[in-house]
Subunit: 249 residues, 8 copies
């Protein structure tokens, strides 16, 4: 069943020409592969628009390799986040197409190039130390087909470094703001643009930063409307959500 067929069925149900029962039939046929330690969801691309993403942290190198092996065999694009160089080497040994983005800690195998949307996604960091999280966001967005505008080290302690980039930022369709410490950049950007801002707190800082809690709380309580938040250091989540919005028509 292709995405088009699925969509048609859902529209029929909405219009009353198909029944709820028919919709539920769809669920029954969702395929997955049971590896014992992992159940790979081959249908996610159709259901949610994107292939399953492998969160590599906490998995063994052997498990990561096995999951890649199965997914590649279905000709899916595959993305592995929080990956180590060892995991990359293991994956590379079974598929020469594997690419490693070391700063972003992402392993990617891209079987088919996604269509590129018209607009860009901006990825802005407050500091230099936030760059690894930013790269996770930017590379994720790029692998999902988007063009990315990177603006790094533009924190509020020297706000003119941000102001002169405003026109370029405003030309993007979604803005990802990445900051540790007090996380004020999300509020400042949110007050200057009319685009959705996805804020990513980072664990950069010490003492009362409490591993990113300060930035997280600051972003959640932002006085600027239009700001939503993802988990601390979750560059992937921000890149994924931004791509979802950017690809909308």
């Amino acid at each position: 069943m292709t995405a088009q067929e699925l969509e048609k069925l859902l529209i029929n149900i909405k219009n009353g020409t198909s029944t709820v029962e028919e919709a539920l039939e769809v669920l029954k046929t969702f395929p997955y592969t049971d590896l014992g330690f992992a159940r790979i969801d081959h249908h996610r691309e159709i259901r949610t628009g994107y292939p399953e993403i492998i969160y590599c942290a906490g998995k063994t190198t052997e498990q990561v390799k096995e999951i890649f092996r199965v997914m590649i065999s279905k000709e899916n694009n595959v993305i592995g986040t929080r990956a180590s160089i060892e995991m990359y080497k293991a994956v590379k040994s079974i598929t020469p197409d594997a690419v490693f983005y070391s700063e972003a800690r992402i392993i990617a195998v891209q079987k088919k190039k996604p269509e590129t949307p018209e607009n860009r996604i901006a990825v802005i960091t407050a500091g230099t130390s936030d760059i690894p999280v930013a790269e996770e966001a930017a590379v994720t967005a790029e692998l999902l087909g988007n063009e990315v505008l990177r603006i790094y080290d533009a924190g509020v302690a020297g706000i003119h470094r941000l102001v002169d980039k405003l026109p370029e930022i405003r030309s993007c369709k979604v803005i990802i703001v990445i900051a540790g410490m007090e996380g004020a950049l999300a509020s400042v950007v949110g007050g200057l643009v009319d685009k959705p801002v996805i804020a990513v707190p980072t664990s950069v800082g010490y003492g009362a930063s409490f591993g990113g809690i300060s930035a997280l709380l600051a972003m959640l309580t932002s006085c600027s409307a239009g700001v939503t938040v993802v988990n601390i250091d979750n560059g992937f989540g921000a890149g994924f959500s931004a791509s979802m919005i950017n690809r909308m028509k």
Copy 2:
């Protein structure tokens, strides 16, 4: 200066036909009114696409009334959130157009009807007790011009109540999920749809709910990609961000 003129200037800068200096000139002329206790930002609608929203909690009834008076005189649409019935009466006394949405605690004066986008926004709650927050989100989205699909009390303890609504939910462009206690609904919905999910934790619950912290943490750590989060009980923020995404072209 109208929004069109502003946009044109920004494009020129991007293309190199205008200078950064010209962009900054724009900033200088942003108007506001200083009431002593409040500085009303008349330019926000042009800059961010929406008028200033008044957060009424913590303001006196007299202050709220004064802010409405000034904003209405500029023929802006005005939205006041977290408002009391007393505040509404005070605003009503100066403008008969004021409307009060009591469950959502919103005062609205709508001078011009916003254009309605093609797609709907879904607002789903886990329980009945989450409805006031949901109404804040739904009314906000509606006042900003959107159509809203409300699905209330569809928590994961009886997941079939959600499943048979899936086709209708998937036809929306953005999904707002509102839940207290363990907030699991956001992850479940996020795993079933390919649309951005904005999750709103609520302070519904007791004991280890800790006023919404449990739901907040659960939503931030959701295993489903595509979920972003706003502050506890922040129905307004979710409705505003959802509208921003829904109105995109």
Copy 3:
């Protein structure tokens, strides 16, 4: 004094044919061995139905070995949790019957095979990274005589991977649900089955997972009735309690 004798005495007290004083006499004779650094409770099997379990973390290898030596000499079954490979080797050196379950980190010496109850215990994990905790639960349950149904990596982001296993899950008498991050799986399973669910939060995740706090709070505030919770990463506790329930007649 055997368990039968103890039980008879207690029943007599309940029926009034023995006095409270007689019950307390029992307490006086509970035997234990004082090793200086540990007091081994030889009577626990009679009193609580199970032998003492050794929590190895925080003990030295020498202490673990000594405790095993004493307990084995009484022909008890012995279980050591949170054990290292070094501890296992030390125990093995004194008893060739010692077995090491490396993923579960359990050392076991089984002198007598427990009776196997009719029903199985289900152990379900949300992700692959939760498997070590799941194995601690499953191996504990098996060592206490139960059959275990393992379903790993069935998190709510792809709920169909769980749904098609429902009939098998519902045939078990107790369900152990193990999840990190937002811990939503416990609520979803709790809403689909009519069996006691023992939820184990794990420290899997990062950022706002806070070492398992998110999952813990989510499980404690679950909207599904019938869910009880044990400590973060406490696979042993879940396996032990599940066995207690499963062995009931």
Copy 4:
């Protein structure tokens, strides 16, 4: 479809004589009533063995009344927890069978008497102030058909008040231990009996009790095996889980 038919179908699937597809068909036909503000799950009794329980806190009196009206019309037993006297009066006005347990804050309408299991459930509190939570647990268990042994104010500061009740406690099949402050009673009871202990922390105490957090943490980290925990003040959850275990055969 009756529970017997459902069970038969599930067994057939397990045995391979029915397909997974047939099991999923079942899900499609789960009935519920949509009241707008609530979706009442009429099928829960068959699916989980118990009717839906109404958590009244956070609902309006009118909403509670409406939910009772619909559920009673299906001849279900209905339980409303965290109810006020006003809610009771509203329910009473539509059904004279409604009963209010004021200390437990429970409204009950019992259309059919559940079968009484052979064994009792013990409900033990550390102090007098824990009694309201204990009554919520005890009344819940009784409404679900169980006999309850109540032992109140038996905290560890005077442990002999507990010891002489041991024989009676050991004759129960499940033990609910309810304690605020340091919650030590759960560990002490857990060390003396061979039955599952469900521990309920209460918000009784002041200062470093932090509304029940101290007792919650103490119970979660209990050194006695066989102890599982529910949310702070969640007498209902404990009573419900205990009943589930006690009714097992």
Copy 5:
């Protein structure tokens, strides 16, 4: 002993013309009045440069009145913070000079007018709801002799409302920044001026504001150097410290 004499003695000690013993003699003669429930420190003005300030919260009206009575009798200037209108009336009944600043919740009796320093102190708030805390800071600073520049409601969501006031702000010698929610204003101001910034987090906000914790953490982890922080809602402390710095020569 006057301040001049004290200063002379200290200089002598530093220069070696007086001994440490002589300095300690000074301590012995510090006078105070013991009221039983309070020990009034008459020497604080000489020792720390300012009279004792009465923190009225938690004291009874009668106690506040008594403390004012004793201090006034020594011809001291007296400031009572966190005072109620009842306390003011009681103080007014014994001294007609008492003044009440209701928004700042301060009772003041000023026997001698302090000298006015050349420079002003700026008090800036992010929102209208922060004004009560700001007034506590501003009135404190004024009572200690300083001129104050008030700029209220200049939060980062509309940063141009702050930018056009920059020249005036930079002409002040110390800046007090008062903000709730995410507290970003402190960092933004700190990055634009070369004066000490004293940041006051306020309890304004809801949900993840956690009564001011978000703003507090954000201010403590500010990426702008030159920012120090006082307790949540501590307008008095900020006004006092700012005055100390502003009066320096």
Copy 6:
């Protein structure tokens, strides 16, 4: 069995002239009265040296009255802490000897006057607002037979108010230090005396005091040896422990 007999028995056991079994016999005969909602421990005075203390908060007035009635009938001294004026009136109605210490919130009935030890207990507070907690400590100590030296409002902001009382403080055998906010007084006193200091954090303060957490943590981490800590606002606990130490011989 009197305390003397009990003591003799214990000594015999220690000396080997009685057996452990004989000691345990003692436990069997500990008397208590079961009121249903409370189990009154008549033996506590013998076992721990003091009668049972009633923690009245969380109990109904009727329950408090009943407990007093039973305890008085045994001619015990009775102390009820955290009591309301209503509870006092109820107790007074059954025994004219009842006394109410309103600031300390203690109801006392004293049937026999305890012996007065040679040394005094010092009770020192940092501020006036700490006095209610101090009175709970002081009255408790006095009811248990001790003489108390009260020094109130001697916080470290004016340390000379403490220094001139040092000789008198050092003449006491135990020191209770009571402070809210930063709780520094405990460390300062601990560094100046060679007597055990029992520190009581109070919930006095606001903002980052977090209801006494600041003072609690400060006292626990005191750099002065000899400081032990009780719960926030637990004046009773401090008075009780101090009395225990002061009465030692």
Copy 7:
């Protein structure tokens, strides 16, 4: 000035035969040695009854050695806590009298043997893993001249291991209870003895133990009167306070 002279002076002041001024003179002459990185307080033994104790953690080996060198030269007894084996070797190189208690992590140099009080101090642990903290307490108490009764691994999961030691425990003058996880042992012991209990929470445990917070909170909120608490893992503090009480006459 000897302790006797100091005591005489203080008594004179109390009796009015010496003045406060004379007492303060004493303070002026307190000697210390300034090493630049440390100020050694030679007078502490006289002032507080015990020599200065060196907290070695966070100091360099060189600094520890230097502090020992100076203190030994005054013929003081010296105790260094939280010391490493390297520090011990460095101290040993300058004084052959240095002794290292490796489990307790204490370096001691004892120049004069303290007098031994009549009564013992009991040190009881809940588990084997608590022994290092217990040894810090026990060795501290012994170095300060006391005899210690050690009872290790007597947690509440097997309470009979404690009960048969009760007579011996009751013969001690102070009881130190050391427990991690839920810390219930402090309450149980506190309910069985009439001696001051000093409770030491340990960081033993995992998950919701939160590095000792669970045990700390449980001990602070103990329902047994007579229990005071020291910092997590602070064996030294407990041993020191216990010695202070035990040495009292």
Copy 8:
């Protein structure tokens, strides 16, 4: 544009002889260098009175070296905090003027010697373990041109070690107080001097110190007026703010 010209412009604006527009023109011309991973703010010295400070933690050695290279090329003074010895070596390789303060972890290149103000800054620590943070503060202050008075290990457990230094401390213009554990020193110093106190909590301590939270909270809730606080272990921030105040005229 020099600082003088900037100042003149600002004064003109204030006096009305220049317009707000002219002030904003200034912002447009603020220079910075974009290195891709960092945006170096060359204008900060003019705008805030000090050059940009490099926070080295979280940056790679290569990044630190590049930032130094660019900044040095502008003849700025440069300060790098939280630097490693590797970073220092890399910087040294490009400029022989680089100096490393190893205890303070600061790399400095000083092109022009700042003017020395008349008064000193006092840096006081409670313990020896606080010295690294103190050195960060002291070296920062010295590099910014100030003279520093260091007083280390003067905690409140031996307060006479502080008292005899009071005259010298009072001769300073700003006091930095650095303490871990309970942080009481800030309050004590604040009560004895009439100068601004900047308090720095340190992560020194264990258990309930919680990495500096205890000291942080204690300092924020200090009962002494005139105390402001910076982040845990933020010696740099304290030194910077102190310098700002000390250099004022």
